[in-house]
Symmetry: C2
Subunit: 467 residues, 2 copies
């Protein structure tokens, strides 16, 4: 029988004190779940208090879910953590693909967009955070401006200037928690009546986000120079969302001529814009970088988007966009009520990380690292007796290249075979919406998450599948 001393009750009402005592016993597991509580009358008698006091205490416990009642039987202790454990299975709809992946222990993953952990500059990042925490104090707690703290916008502008030869005003930069979030802002800024042209094949999240926001999308095919101009002109789209520096998944780098043509297309109507998604421009291994469309845009037609997901890690949710003057004004007047979605501490830390040179050093190191991994993989491919069956394409920039395979296997069979060798990889065909255009038998070798000591073996296993 529950027994509590009321000597420590203090000024609390009797029922409240009793409620707390019982609650504590439930939380500390002294009262086990589904244990029956004494009847109100019995407990009142035992504690020498009124029945109404027990009734009030039970009522409070009931309303807060600590106990439950069964009619004509009495009160029982709730299984307070039950929901936490038995809810996972019915709730998390795990797709077939996910289920399968969970059960396979892959040796190497050429599919998932992770980044290599080996080289993350934990020491300098940690040093920078510490310095920020001790220096900035109050400013870390203040709401940052809608478009991000000026320190970070300045550093981004300087970085774009030195690294991409771009002349962007920090005042035109908007910082947000990931490019996905920025796409959402753009939809609100540009208006839902627009029709967006996206690349087919392409990064499927982009169209998913547009469609989830009930915005119309047109899937435009690519030719060897990127977005097909003739297909674009045939469509009714007025905004294009492209990644000309390095297209995912084809790896195409759009040449200057096509960039100019796209700009010309955009200049025809003031409802037309280009969203230039420059997501992995930092990793180019040879050849001269081609100026961004933004930097040759004289008519305020280009919205430039970039992210730190590739250069730092996807778990840092920091991306940014640079808006044309007109749109920046519209943003300030129509969406200025939003708060910036990136925490001030991370914004200041990243700003100092860039200004102190850590960022550039890190990118340079990663570029060397990735180039090394890529070379290992390509060398292994070339050394394979199956080399004559493949063609390597678009290997000079970004963190993936294509491997065109001469085989009678279907894409599905190809993937089945690689899976048996412990290799997770996907085919280009997976990324097409209009399947009739789709290129078969082309593997996407995404090596951003492959560690150096696994690269050669992973490539060897991949090539062995072609036996």
């Amino acid at each position: 029988m529950l027994t509590y001393s009321f000597s420590q009750k203090g000024s609390l009402p009797m029922y409240d004190y009793l409620y707390r005592c019982i609650k504590n016993d439930i939380l500390s597991n002294n009262l086990k779940s589904n244990e029956k509580l004494p009847s109100k009358r019995t407990l009142a008698k035992n504690l020498n208090i009124s029945v109404i006091t027990v009734e009030n205490a039970y009522a409070q416990l009931l309303v807060e879910g600590y106990i439950y009642s069964i009619e004509k039987k009495g009160y029982y202790v709730s299984d307070i953590y039950k929901v936490n454990t038995d809810i996972i299975s019915p709730n998390n709809k795990i797709t077939e693909e996910k289920k399968e992946n969970l059960s396979i222990n892959y040796f190497a993953d050429f599919q998932t967009n992770t980044i290599s952990h080996e080289n993350f500059p934990f020491t300098s990042w940690s040093k920078t955070i510490r310095s920020i925490l001790s220096k900035k104090r109050e400013s870390l707690l203040n709401t940052s401006p809608i478009n991000g703290v000026s320190e970070l916008r300045n550093e981004i502008a300087r970085h774009l200037y030195h690294f991409r030869g771009m002349n962007i005003s920090p005042e035109h930069i908007i910082i947000g928690a990931g490019t996905e979030y920025l796409y959402g802002l753009l939809i609100q800024l540009l208006g839902r009546e627009n029709i967006f042209a996206v690349e087919d094949p392409g990064y499927s999240k982009i169209s998913k986000i547009y469609q989830s926001n009930l915005v119309k999308c047109r899937f435009i095919e690519l030719d060897k120079n990127g977005l097909s101009l003739s297909a674009l002109k045939k469509s009714d789209a007025n905004i294009i969302h492209i990644s000309p520096s390095h297209h995912f998944p084809t790896g195409i780098v759009t040449p200057v001529k096509r960039r100019q043509e796209l700009l010309k297309w955009a200049m025809i109507s003031n409802r037309r814009y280009i969203i230039e998604d420059d997501y992995d421009c930092e990793f180019r291994f040879s050849g001269k970088p081609i100026p961004t469309i933004k930097s040759i845009d004289t008519d305020e037609k280009v919205i430039y988007i970039n992210t730190f997901s590739k250069t730092l890690a996807p778990s840092f949710r920091i991306s940014y966009m640079a808006l044309p003057h007109r749109l920046m004004e519209k943003f300030n007047s129509e969406l200025g009520f939003y708060s910036c979605t990136v925490s001030a501490i991370e914004q200041y830390t990243l700003a100092e990380f860039i200004s102190s040179g850590f960022f550039e050093k890190h990118i340079n190191r990663m570029r060397t690292f990735y180039r090394g991994v890529r070379n290992q993989i390509i060398n292994e491919i070339k050394a394979s007796s199956n080399y004559k069956k493949v063609k390597i394409e678009e290997e000079n920039s970004g963190l993936h290249f294509l491997l065109n395979v001469k085989t009678k296997l279907t894409d599905k069979e190809l993937i089945e075979k690689t899976k048996k060798k412990g290799i997770k990889i996907s085919c280009l065909s997976k990324y097409y919406v209009k399947k009739e255009n789709c290129r078969q038998r082309t593997l996407i070798v995404n090596y951003s998450g492959i560690s150096k000591n696994k690269a050669s073996e992973a490539a060897k296993r991949l090539m062995d599948c072609l036996d």
Copy 2:
């Protein structure tokens, strides 16, 4: 005349080396902006290289914006930082109100939603980050699950359980970069055909976000118990967005009976839902906390939203919502492609900050602190010779209370007078959409950003305005 030695050229093409030399001179300000460059022919002669080499170098500089050309005159150095400095004025549309606020140096601000800096636990936060950075390493770089890292969701569930008596499964929690971001997700999840009822008066951002996403809003008046049930029933809204624990700006705490009535309203149709915004529930100074609607919801009708903006600082962009089972399934299947918008480092840090007890300690300290500030202000009001002219309302929870004033002044005149005393404050009337319902002569005393040593003086100045 520009002179460069080509001895360090290495394997670079001639034009590329020249391009880099000139670019460096521009960046290092050796070549001043608007300085004229030598003609191609002259420079070629001077450097003893071909004109075509200079032409190619100039072309690259031109396309990247380092130089510009004037027809028949030649090439000039761009003012590369110009955009950064002269763009601010035309670009940032500063509203009249903002302009005015910038020019006034207020003694105290009872209006802006800031939080007090005096008590932020920098030491324990910093300690926690350091521990996380050294312990977690790789997991900090991995993409976190869509709904946030499980460590943080577990801690939030535990916190809600102990602090609010709520039994929420961590699997039902979604972490996002601010409640504003979560509202956007909810719009996509629930669908744009819904009609949202928001409180009038209310926190204007909520309706702005709905409307910016082209979702219909109905402004529902309040009675003394919160959202008016009769007004709600007269409207065609099917989703209500309310803050029953402590309404902003009126401070109303919705009693259990009204909560049950609202639940009953929601249960009538499966298209009806309640969004319960519990933004400052942690700061209740007296009276027993009333169970959240979520915790008495037996029919999976309530979406619970809360934030760390009030308990930590608004600059931490971490909020969360708990979805009913049905909606969680829908979220996973329809919006599962999104990435979580909060950085992994901050999620892990907050999880450890909560689990190690720092968070609870901090809340308790802040509650005491805010109660102290509130008491100072109220004591000063009571001590004032103008006390008979005012009535204090809803002072027992949240971080603001109302001050009803008996005066012949209009709200505008009242604000004018406070401004002259260096006090920034707003009137309840400002927050009404339907102005015909609006309560006049009621000041909102938001003391969350008032420091202890200014509280009494600020209150004194406020009361002096009523002379």
